[in-house]
Symmetry: C2
């Protein structure tokens, strides 16, 4: 499977089969760069739009700043517009924006890719997902006074996140909920953890935990608050997730997916509440 579209910041779209990164770019050799993943929707007449681009560019600016990389949102908007204009086949697409430090003596490199949704997403959205809980090794306040640990930075250094997802598969699950060394719920490798008790929505607090603030979780909480839900950032333990009425992993491209099993134990689903949350997140009915 090759990319559908490939863009270079400052250049425009190029052949999606091209190799574009140099072997001495610290984005590759050190995972020293940052990224965003966004959902693109293309309607029946071939017009494309990207979900909450402002929020993604704002977060990428914060990531770049933490890594001491330059970031020009307007330049990125030009590249995104070119990609959207070329994205004409109706459906959903995954768009990534990547910023690397660039090869030795060079300048930072910005890349945009558009590709098909992962094949498992439609099933996971419909049937929910089984997760394993895994220790992240850090205490829930480890990041509070340690900016070099890059808490909240979406860096190109996800090897542990990918290894954790492989461990989940080994345990008969498909995804992970990371737990702090002192037993508090953190996040999933590529999504936020959100749970509901009655008409209250909860997620992990940012400060000190090092988790990434989710753009879809934030959109959900804004819209849910406007719709009369109570919303709260709360420290929770795995037992609280079992006790919750609903539990979702919430990401920008996959949207919210029901967690139907934790460490092999089945959780009840509430399909009406999940449908409501999906709508609030900007995703349609399954």
């Amino acid at each position: 499977m090759t990319l559908t579209l490939l863009g270079l910041l400052g250049t425009g779209l190029v052949d999606p089969r091209s190799a574009v990164v140099h072997a001495d770019d610290p984005g590759l050799t050190r995972g020293d760069g940052c990224f965003e993943g966004c959902r693109v929707r293309t309607d029946g007449s071939g017009r494309s739009q990207v979900d909450k681009l402002d929020a993604h560019l704002a977060r990428m600016r914060r990531s770049a700043s933490a890594l001491q990389l330059p970031f020009d949102a307007d330049e990125w908007r030009v590249l995104v517009d070119k990609a959207l204009a070329a994205c004409v086949t109706p459906g959903e697409w995954a768009m990534k924006l990547l910023l690397t430090r660039g090869p030795a003596g060079g300048t930072p490199v910005g890349l945009l890719t558009v590709s098909a949704l992962p094949a498992e997403y439609p099933r996971q959205r419909r049937d929910g997902i089984a997760v394993a809980t895994l220790d992240r090794g850090t205490a829930a306040d480890a990041f509070a006074r340690a900016p070099w640990l890059l808490g909240g930075v979406k860096a190109l250094s996800y090897a542990v996140n990918m290894a954790a997802q492989r461990e989940a598969v080994r345990r008969g699950a498909e995804d992970v909920i990371f737990v702090s060394a002192d037993g508090f719920v953190l996040e999933a490798p590529t999504s936020s953890v959100v749970w509901a008790v009655g008409r209250a929505l909860f997620t992990t607090p940012l400060d000190g935990t090092g988790i990434l603030g989710g753009t879809t979780q934030q959109l959900l909480f804004e819209r849910a608050a406007a719709a009369g839900w109570r919303t709260e950032a709360a420290r929770a333990r795995v037992a609280d997730l079992f006790a919750a009425d609903s539990l979702w992993l919430v990401g920008s491209v996959r949207g919210p997916v029901d967690v139907v099993r934790i460490d092999g134990v089945v959780r009840a689903r509430d399909t009406a509440r999940t449908a409501e949350v999906r709508t609030l997140c900007g995703f349609g009915r399954q």
Copy 2:
């Protein structure tokens, strides 16, 4: 500054100006791959050799295995031999071996690069280096039962290591000694920590700490033991580093460098002991 040499596993040497990595390779997008950094020496007649290649390939095999990536040492040796044959300008060189998961639907990608030594290495070898101690966020036993945290795996996810070195510069130092959340000495972002008390050499234990076993530290300990030193893996605190007779950061390309300042406090140097350690590590006199 461009690369001196560039090689592709299974192909051979290519134009060192080539971009060779695809924008959807998880080695780039997720830091999902592994690497080694080795020293190459080229003598006056243009013959090159690489230091302790067996140890580097053995460690890379372990890294690849932890990431569920295939690894064929013989194939790497073919590529290394081609690079050594083409490396004819007398001096020292930095050789990197990189293995990425490869683009979606593709196969893993192996890369070899040869480049000049970092400009600061000769000065650091001669004058020593100032370090800052920084909290790594994990307890000294955090990795013991959590293989998904990739302790001891040299993955392409070094963003925290690079951010820590930038923090060190902000603090008036040049490198970092990471300390566990519970106050034990770990490692430097790209080297091992070794200290001496009398005729005893110490370094951080591997189990549970998550540190990378250093190939140069291991060579040093083997040769030092044969030369009558006592060698030991020991849990230590920063106060123990101040109390030690000598303290070095030990890496494959830079070799051992004296730590002459910790968090702004000057340490005494013992140039005779450092010269002995340099020789044991396979590095000449400064």
